[in-house]
Amino acid sequence: MDLSEMVESLVYRKPDSLRDVETHYCPGCTHGLAHRLVAEVIDELGMREKAIGVAPVGCSVFAYNYFNMDFAEAAHGRAPAMATGIKRVNPDNLVFTYQGDGDLASIGAAEILHAAGRGENITVVFINNAIYGMTGGQMAPTTLPGQRTSSTPLGRDVEVHGFPLRMCEVLSQLDGAAYVARRSLHDVANIRKAKKALRQAFEVQLNGLGFAMVELLSNCPTNWGMGATDSLVWIEEHMIPMFPLGDYKVGPGVASVGGRES
C-alpha cells in the first residue's frame, strides 16, 4: 500500500466556539452535550465573534469556561433581563441565555415571561433536568409528580407542591414568542433534532423575528441517583410523557428561515 496516497480527513473536532478545557460537569451529564450543540450551531452560522452569552446560576454557572466567546454571568433567574439589556444596546450581536429549570421557570419566571411577551430578539437555551442540580437535588418547577427530591423526600405531592410547569406550552401563548420548541437529548436521533431546533432558534434572532426558545430535556444522574444510561432511559420513559416533544410555536415568517440540517 502506498502511504503517500492516504488522505487524512477530519471527521470530528471541537467546534471553535468551545474552549479546549476539561469539564467540571458530573460524569454522564448532558450539559456538555447541550454546550456542544450550541457551539456547533454558532460555528455554522459564523457568529462566534458576534455572540454574547448569558450564563445562569445553576450547574452551568461556569458556561463561560466552555464557550469560547463573550459571556456574562447573571443573577439567579435574571438572564433574560440581562440579555434584554445587552441586545437593546447591541442589536447586532447574537445574544443568548443558557438556563436551567430552576433558574428559568422558578426564580426567573417573571423575567422569561416578559422577555417572551416583549418579543425580545434573543435566543434562550432551556435545560430541563427536572431538578436543582447545583444545590444538591431539590425540587424544581419541572419536577415530576411523585418524583423524590431532597425537598420532596416523599415524592412531589401535587396537592402541596403544585404541578410541573410546562414552559414551552406557556410561552407559546404569547404573541411575542416567534419560535418555541422542545427537544430531548436522550439519544442520537433526538440530539440531531435538538441541534436543528437550536439552529432555527438562532436564525430567528438573526432575522429579527423575535423571541426564540428551545427546551432540551436533560438528565441529572447525580441527583436522580442513577447511572448515566439509566438516566437517559428515564428521560424517555418519564419526562417525555410529561413534556411532549415538538414545536409549540412557529410564528409568522419563521418557517421560511433556517432549520436546515447541516
Binding site: 433567574g77 426564580i107 419566571a109 444545590t135 431539590q138 431532597s150 425537598s151 423526600p153 407542591h161
Partner: protein, 355 residues
C-alpha cells in the same frame, strides 16, 4: 434532653420547630439548604406548613402573609437570597408583624461563593431594605448558641412585633458540634393568636395590617413608634460574652465565627503572657455600645476581627469614642482567618510602639 452531634443548619431548623414554628417558606441556597431539607421532611410530619417558594422574593412575602395571621413563621437563606428578601423585610417592618429569618452568610458581593463570610453585617444590622427600621440581630458562635438564639428569636419577634434575624455564616451552618435541643413546645392554639392578627373578623371589627401612611405626619408618627421600640430593645436586649477581660489591657472584638476564632488567638496570647481578653457581641442590634464604652475606659487598644472588609468595626469605634485606638483585621470573600493570624495582630497591638 441529651447532647447530640448536630449540624448547624439542621440544628436551627429543628430548634425552630421545637419553638413552635408553624410555617417555613424558603428557596434552596448553599450553605443553608440542609435547613430547608430538614423542614421539608419534618414540617409535614408534624402537620405544619412547608413550602419551597419559587424565589426568595416569594418566600419572604409568604412569610409576611403568614406572619399577619399571628402564626410563628420563618425563612432561612444565604446572602444572595437575603438580598432578594430586603423588600419584603421592609414591608414586614412597616407592618410590625413578627417574623424570624436565619441568614447563613457566604462570600460576596454578587454570586460570590459558598464559603463562610460576614459580609452582610451592614445589610442586616443597619436595616437593609428601604426606610427607617432595624431588625433585632443575633449572632451565634456555636451550634448550641445557634439553637438557643433561634428559639429566643421567636419570642423576641413576638414581644416586639418585629423581625429577628439570626446572623451566622457557612462555617456554623455546616459544622457539627455536640449540642442540646430544647424540648418541644406546643403550638399556640389558633384561638390564642394575638388580637391584632388577621384571622377573620368574627364578632369583632376588622383588623387591617398595612405599611402605608399617606399622610407624612402619620408616617412620621409611625416611625417614632419604631424608634421608641428600638429604644426599648436597646434597654433590654443587649447580649454579649466577655472572656479574660478582668485584668486585660487589650481587647479583641469579634462576632460569630470570627469571635470564636479570636477566642483561640486570645488563649494563645495569654499563654505568651499578653494581657488580652475577648468581647464577643451576640446581639448586633442592639449593639453593646455601653459595655464597649466602659471597656474603652480601661483598655490600651482594641482589635476588631471580622470576616469582611470592616463593618462592625464602625460600631466599635462609635462605642469607643476615640478613647483608645481601634485596629481592624479582616479576611474577605469566604476566607476564615486562622488563630495564628489574629495572634500576630495581637502581638503587634501589644508591642510598645502601639501603646
Amino acid at each position: 434532653m441529651a447532647r447530640e452531634l448536630l449540624e448547624g443548619n439542621v440544628a436551627f431548623a429543628e430548634a425552630a420547630i421545637r419553638a413552635g414554628c408553624e410555617a417555613y417558606f424558603g428557596y434552596p441556597i448553599t450553605p443553608q439548604t440542609e435547613a430547608l431539607e430538614h423542614m421539608a421532611r419534618r414540617m409535614p410530619e408534624l402537620g405544619r406548613a412547608f413550602l419551597q417558594a419559587e424565589s426568595e422574593v416569594a418566600a419572604i412575602n409568604m412569610v409576611y402573609g403568614a406572619a399577619c395571621t399571628g402564626a410563628r413563621v420563618m425563612s432561612s437563606s444565604s446572602s444572595p437570597g437575603v438580598s432578594l428578601m430586603m423588600e419584603g423585610m421592609s414591608y414586614i417592618a412597616g407592618s410590625e408583624v413578627p417574623a424570624v429569618l436565619v441568614d447563613i452568610m457566604r462570600g460576596g458581593p454578587g454570586l460570590g461563593n459558598i464559603a463562610p463570610s460576614q459580609g452582610d453585617y451592614f445589610q442586616i444590622v443597619k436595616g437593609g431594605g428601604h426606610g427607617d427600621y432595624r431588625p433585632i440581630v443575633l449572632a451565634p458562635a456555636t451550634v448550641q448558641e445557634l439553637i438557643n438564639l433561634t428559639v429566643e428569636a421567636f419570642d423576641l419577634a413576638e414581644r416586639y412585633r418585629c423581625i429577628v434575624v439570626v446572623l451566622a455564616d457557612g462555617c456554623l451552618g455546616q459544622m457539627m458540634e455536640p449540642a442540646e435541643l430544647p424540648p418541644m413546645r406546643a403550638i399556640r392554639p389558633s384561638a390564642e393568636r394575638p388580637e391584632w392578627a388577621l384571622n377573620g373578623a368574627e364578632g369583632r371589627s376588622p383588623n387591617v395590617i398595612s405599611s402605608i401612611y399617606l399622610e407624612p405626619l402619620e408616617e412620621e408618627e409611625f416611625n417614632r413608634r419604631l424608634l421608641a421600640k428600638q429604644a426599648e430593645i436597646e434597654a433590654h436586649e443587649v447580649r454579649f460574652r466577655e472572656l479574660a477581660l478582668d485584668d486585660a489591657e487589650l481587647a479583641v472584638v469579634g462576632f460569630g465565627t470570627s469571635g470564636r476564632v479570636a477566642q483561640s488567638a486570645v488563649k494563645f496570647a495569654r499563654q505568651e503572657g499578653i494581657k488580652v481578653g475577648l468581647m464577643r457581641p451576640i446581639s448586633l442590634n442592639p449593639f453593646p455600645y455601653d459595655a464597649l464604652g466602659r471597656l474603652a475606659d480601661r483598655m490600651r487598644a482594641f482589635l476588631v476581627v471580622e470576616m469582611n472588609g470592616g463593618q462592625m468595626v464602625e460600631d466599635v469605634r462609635l462605642a469607643v469614642e476615640g478613647k483608645a485606638p481601634v485596629r481592624f483585621y479582616g479576611r474577605m470573600g469566604g476566607v476564615v482567618p486562622f488563630p495564628d493570624e489574629i495572634l500576630a495582630e495581637i502581638r503587634k497591638l501589644n508591642a510598645p510602639t502601639e501603646a
